[in-house]
Amino acid sequence: MTEKDWPLYEVFIRARNGLAHRHVGSLHAVDAEMALQNARDVYTRLGDAASIWVVPSAAITASDPARKEEMFEPTATKIYRHPTFYEVPDEVGNM
């Protein structure tokens, strides 16, 4: 078996409770369990992790960069959607 045969996985890590899992990168692995172990070894070396997700890259459906104008630009003029007129108390923590 060579690395060429190993599928690609996307790695998501949650640093601590209350935060969302964040995409940190990708890696090759023989299967999901090994992807989890590889993710642990490759992406959590600095100790900043409480949870890991791995997802087969092939399972992700991505938006087409060529269509980003129709996808995203119409929202740029709708500033009234931003809740910038509220103050969030510090005690609320991570939102």
């Binding site: 078996m1 060579t2 690395e3 190993w6 890696l27 090759h28 692995a29 023989v30 299967d31 369990e33 090994m34 172990q37 590889n38 070894d41 490759v42 070396r45």
Partner: protein
């Protein structure tokens, strides 16, 4: 604790030598593993081993009056007390993973038991090490299962690794007079008592891997009294080169 003197020092030194030698072996995979992800995994395991070895050498240095570096770099092969299995060459990837599994599946219950030692420093080192070794068992077991239950060719190579390494496993469960003295003092662990648990762990993994457990034939031993296979000397010549060529070198 002082009344146990030399025994205590020798016991800790034995514990330190195996992870030191295994860590050094594993570093030979750096930049040579089958995939970069596995390269990093092996380096991580090696670093865990060196961490355990350093803590144990530090403790031995405290008990025996020789520095940590002296113990690691200025003793010759017959003075090393590691298990023979950890000095064996890496062989192919299946061989390295099998060696890791056979050894780590033994060290996991060993460190668990050692965490209850009356020597509090030793207990603390063991409590930290057990988490590391638990992961080493998991990682190597997953590979052994995938190689054993993989293709016909990977199965053949995994079985060959198991067959070749089997004769080095008997040594892990030996109990000599030094062990007996340390067990009696409440400091040491009775390795012989860990055999049933090791058997159980291994049988479960080998069954999943569709590998055949070899019959218990002749077992080689001697590492823990300084009689080593030819491989250790070659390895030390590389590991100790810097301190031998430039005594006292630091950076």
């Amino acid at each position: 604790m002082a009344r146990h003197g030399t025994h205590h020092f020798n016991y800790v030194l034995r514990l330190a030598d195996s992870p030191c030698i295994l860590g050094q072996r594993l570093t030979e995979w750096t930049a040579n593993a089958p995939a970069i992800e596995e390269d990093i995994a092996l380096a991580n395991i090696a670093l865990d081993c060196f961490g355990q070895a350093r803590a144990l050498y530090g403790h031995a240095a405290h008990l025996g009056g020789r520095s940590e570096d002296d113990l690691a770099f200025l003793r010759d092969a017959p003075d090393f007390r590691n298990h023979l299995i950890v000095e064996q060459p890496n062989g192919d990837f299946a061989h390295t993973m099998m060696r890791q599994l056979l050894y780590s599946a033994f060290m996991e219950p060993y460190y668990e038991a050692l965490a209850a030692s009356r020597d509090e420093t030793l207990a603390g080192i063991a409590a930290k090490a057990v988490k590391e070794v638990t992961y080493h068992v998991r990682h190597s077991a997953e590979w052994v299962i995938r190689l054993g239950d993989g293709t016909e060719y990977s199965h053949q190579r995994a079985q060959a690794a198991l067959d070749e390494l089997w004769m080095y496993t008997g040594e892990m469960f030996e109990r000599d007079s030094l062990d007996a003295a340390m067990i009696a003092a409440g400091i040491g662990v009775d390795a012989a008592a860990l055999k049933p648990r090791w058997d159980e762990t291994l049988d479960e993994i080998l069954a999943q891997a569709t590998l055949t457990r070899p019959a218990d034939g002749w077992m080689i031993s001697g590492g823990r009294t300084g009689t080593h296979t030819e491989h250790l000397g070659h390895m030390l010549s590389e590991m100790q080169f810097l301190q031998r060529a430039y005594p006292g070198a630091q950076w």
